[in-house]
């Protein structure tokens, strides 16, 4: 199937087709120097097809040939995805660098999986087994995981295993099984298969309500605005507020099996940081390098815009694939606004009727469908897998009343809004505790959590009043509330990302510390003067701060705990330790 270019407008081209054209299929534009540029059909009108080109269109001419394929934009799934650094179209960047050098020249594509590497395959099915899409035929060890080799997800039901290779070492190209259908249709299975990125991949018994907390080890998240496995959350914030750093910390410490980092239209330098650091960092839970549980999808802001749009789908598909193996996957997308902007650029070229701020009318539904790909599922074999999605949002002017933030807030389960005031004051993570919310239940008893947050709110009110009437016009009681609210913020909600211990607080420690913090906050004080109140609270604040830096159960930790308990006992607090 061929066609000829009739219009070139940025990364949008219109092609006159001589034959049938399939919506969302891929095509290659043949540039006159021989380069083939990957593109995707996004609209068909009569014999005219509009295509978005995933490369710079420099040099394309009216009359140039376009070759249409029947496949949709797809990724290759199989062992060897972990630890990779891909562009938005699943080209491994290190291998592109070996082939093409410093620059990402258009028209170079490399297979997403190493075709020569051998994997130790162990069959789990046997010949004669009745199988269907997603059933496991065998496994290979991939780093610390057992990678399931599954019946291709598009093959539905009604297959019988006719042949299965014995245990041994195979490449992803080798045939490992032959399946035959009821009608005698015979197909070969290898360890790799393709899946179209824009179609959600979910072959399961059922989709469950996500309730199991996803521990990020970031206190303000786990305690105050929790995320759950299979849930969704977003992090909107003005530039420089700390979205990327927050996701970087999460990608290191989150208690999940696999993390997929989708750097979508952001700085290349930030990706370099991750890809140079991760191989050196040891995951304490596995003893292996963090890179072994990570996949980086990187389509930075200088890379072609259409591929930026594809990159979040590529990331979601890889996440769904590992979910099919009964693993817990976390997808971190930075920034979904750049993806939305890619849609806006294309929509403008398509001359569609624009919505607010020139975003297309389908912005909301696209955002909703993307986050819908997150889920906790029960697989057919009774095991569970999850894909959690967390996306940053970069609102224009830092104002959350804009289309992307608003559309995202409608569909996510938790909102971690970063505030400029907090980041300016270097109160990190700069999640605004007065503005953020979560619909999920976390580690901490919701009643206790609410009590702490209520106190924070009251403290804030007192501070505002105090700015007008001064300290003199505030009662000692109110003043104490403000101090205790600050205490909660300083020693618990804020966390020092650069301290070895404080950077990550495991669930048990969080619960334990939170109870102590709450006990201090709910203590009965009856201070006689503001000075006394300040001195006393500052002293206990200092204790907690040092406690945060002390390794769990170290001597220092125990010593400070003793002092804290003494303080609590002396306040005559209604100590509500569960």
């Amino acid at each position: 199937m061929k066609g000829r270019i009739v219009i070139v407008h940025g990364n949008l081209i219109t092609v006159e087709a001589t034959d049938k054209v399939i919506q969302n299929s891929i095509a290659y534009c043949l540039r006159n120097d021989g380069a083939k540029l990957l593109s995707e059909v996004i609209r068909v009108r009569g014999r005219l097809a509009d295509l978005q080109v995933f490369e710079e269109t420099r040099g394309l001419r009216v009359g140039d040939t376009v070759e249409f394929e029947t496949d949709m934009l797809s990724v290759t799934l199989g062992p060897g995805l972990l630890g990779q650094i891909y562009d938005g179209l699943q080209n491994p960047l290190p291998r592109l660098a070996d082939q093409v050098g410093y620059f990402l020249e258009p028209g170079h594509y490399v297979n997403g999986l190493d075709q020569e590497k051998r994997w130790e395959f162990t069959p789990t099915a046997t010949t004669g087994n009745k199988v269907e899409a997603g059933d496991t035929l065998g496994t290979v060890p991939e780093g610390i995981f057992t990678h399931r080799i599954m019946v291709p997800f598009g093959w539905k039901a009604g297959w019988t295993v006719e042949k299965l290779v014995p245990a041994g070492s195979y490449t992803v190209k080798d045939e490992i099984a032959v399946l035959v259908s009821a009608h005698g249709d015979r197909r070969s299975v290898t360890m790799q298969q393709n899946w179209p990125v824009k179609v959600p991949l979910n072959v399961s018994k059922q989709r469950l309500l996500p309730t199991e907390p996803l521990v990020t080890r970031i206190r303000i998240i786990d305690t105050a605005f929790p995320v759950v496995r299979g849930g969704t959350y977003c992090i909107p914030g003005p530039f420089g507020a700390g979205k990327t750093v927050l996701q970087q910390i999460t990608s290191r410490h989150a208690e999940v099996d696999i993390v997929i980092v989708a750097a979508c239209g952001e700085r290349a330098g930030e990706v370099v940081e991750t890809l140079r650091d991760f191989p050196e960092l040891i995951d304490p839970r596995t003893g292996k390098s963090l890179m072994e549980r990570t996949i980086i999808i990187c389509n930075t802001s200088a890379m072609p815009v259409a591929a930026r749009e594809a990159s979040v789908y590529t990331a979601a598909t890889l996440g769904e694939y590992y979910r099919q193996m009964g693993l817990n996957v976390l997808l971190l997308a930075d920034s979904t606004s750049r993806w939305a902007q890619a849609m806006r650029e294309l929509s403008g070229r398509l001359e569609e009727i624009p919505g607010e701020e020139a975003f297309p009318a389908y912005l909301e539904s696209r955002i909703a469908t993307f986050y819908e790909r997150a889920a906790m599922i029960e697989l057919k074999d009774g095991s569970f897998g999850s894909l959690t999605i967390g996306g940053t949002v970069s609102p224009a002017g830092g104002n959350f009343e804009e289309p992307v933030t608003q559309a995202t807030l409608k569909v996510v389960g938790a909102f971690h809004g970063l505030s400029r005031a907090r980041s300016d004051a270097r109160r990190y993570p700069s999640i605004d505790p007065l503005d953020s919310w979560s619909k999920y239940k976390g580690l901490i008893d919701p009643d206790k959590r609410d009590r702490a947050l209520k106190m924070l709110r009251r403290g804030n009110e007192v501070r505002q009043m105090m700015a007008v009437v001064g300290e003199e016009g505030t009662t000692t009681e109110d003043y104490t509330v403000a101090l205790l609210a600050d205490f909660f913020d300083n020693v618990y909600l804020q966390q020092n990302a650069f301290d070895k211990v404080d950077a990550a607080t495991p669930a048990d420690r969080q619960k334990f510390v939170f109870d102590k913090v709450l006990a201090v906050m709910e203590g009965k004080y009856g201070f006689e003067s503001k000075d006394q109140a300040r001195e006393s609270i500052i002293a206990v604040q200092d204790l907690f701060r040092n406690w945060n830096y002390a390794a769990t159960d170290s001597d220092e930790y125990k010593k400070i705990l003793g002092q804290i308990e003494e303080f609590i006992a002396n306040t005559g607090a209604a100590v509500a330790v569960s």
Binding site: V8, G59, L104, G269, S301, R338, A396, D424
Partner: protein
Amino acid sequence: MRKYYDEITRIAGNVITVNATGVGYDELAIITNEKGSSLAQVIRLEGTQVNLQVFAGTQGVSTGDRVQFLHKPMQVPFTDDLLGRIFNGAGLPRDNRPAVEAKRVDIGSPAVNPVRRLMPDKMVETGIPMIDIFNSLVESQKLPIFSVAGEPYNELLARVGLQANADIIILGGMGLRHDDYLKFKNTFDEGGVLGRTIMFVHTAADPVVECLLVPDLCLAVGEQFALLGKKVLVLLTDMTAFSDALKEIAITMEQIPSNRGYPGDLYTQLARRYEKAVDFEDSGSLTILACVTMPGDDVTHPVPDNTGYITEGQFYLRNGRIEPFGSLSRLKQQVNGKTRDDHRAIMDACIQLYALCRESREKRDMGFEMSNWDSKLLRYGEMFETRIMDLAVNIPLFEALDRCWEMLAECFEPSEIGIRRSIIEAHWPKSLEEKEEKKEEELVTA
């Protein structure tokens, strides 16, 4: 034998439409009439209709003019002969010297493969304490100066250019006033760096569209030098003028604007340029310092806003000083841990104390009583402003750190500044302590 096309069917804004075939997207054309010729670039192809953006503007272009396509994108000659030369936004000499003949390179090269980038880790010393101590500039960083019109941002750029110790300095002027252009020239001349400087200057008097090419020309040349192992510093002023030119073209092309008239791809357009900042594996580096004027001092204006989302921090220039609050070098932690052991401590302490000083000033202005502590802070604040913040201050980093210690010792007790004991013991100015002790002794004996 080159083909000419003379069927110009539309002239609007800075864009013309001509009937032609075999034309590649993004390629260059020359429009010629009896008065002269002008460069243009293909921005849309539809059948035989070719839309061209005319760099010199369409004033005086007639339907009878001839268009010749060059079948290549905009290019720039690349050679050491560029050093010391000055060009306009179309890449032609503006220094009355002959054109440079050399191998030509395409502008707007593809993105650098991220795996071939290095983590930035070399500090660029500028002699400006507000930068060196508090927000260190790092090789391969991209950093804008946010400022309102009227602030000495160009002077600041020129100074950094002079003092940054780069192998090659490339200045890109967009919408530059002629006076400013001459000032840059004089500064670089007096500073003795003109011989390693290249300027691409579009002045306010030149056709608007010509400024669109300036960043690409600078960055294409800079990238080539960096690939040869050079440390390149690119200074771009003013990126708001560049963005306004983008806006003008978008409106002519009847694109639907996204925000205050700016096109929806403003972020992408700016990012493509800023992301050229790079530290190449096994080769040189390119650092970008840009100036962004903020219309109405509004940082939420689309140009500074989009810029902030792209760059690695920003400097706010206000009242002739680099603001300590809001200004941020996101790469500073890559370098300030290995300069001197007190660098980070001084950085934090001085800013925290200055923040407290501002609070005290507010309290004072509201008529609240000043405590002894407030008075100390007020005294410190003034000192900090004149001895450190003032842009006239021009001292090396270590001297600046020592100066901070002296200031702290003059105003505070060691326990009041929130710095770890061990660092204080190593750095608290001895001479001063001794002086104080002597004074005390004198008092006692008297």
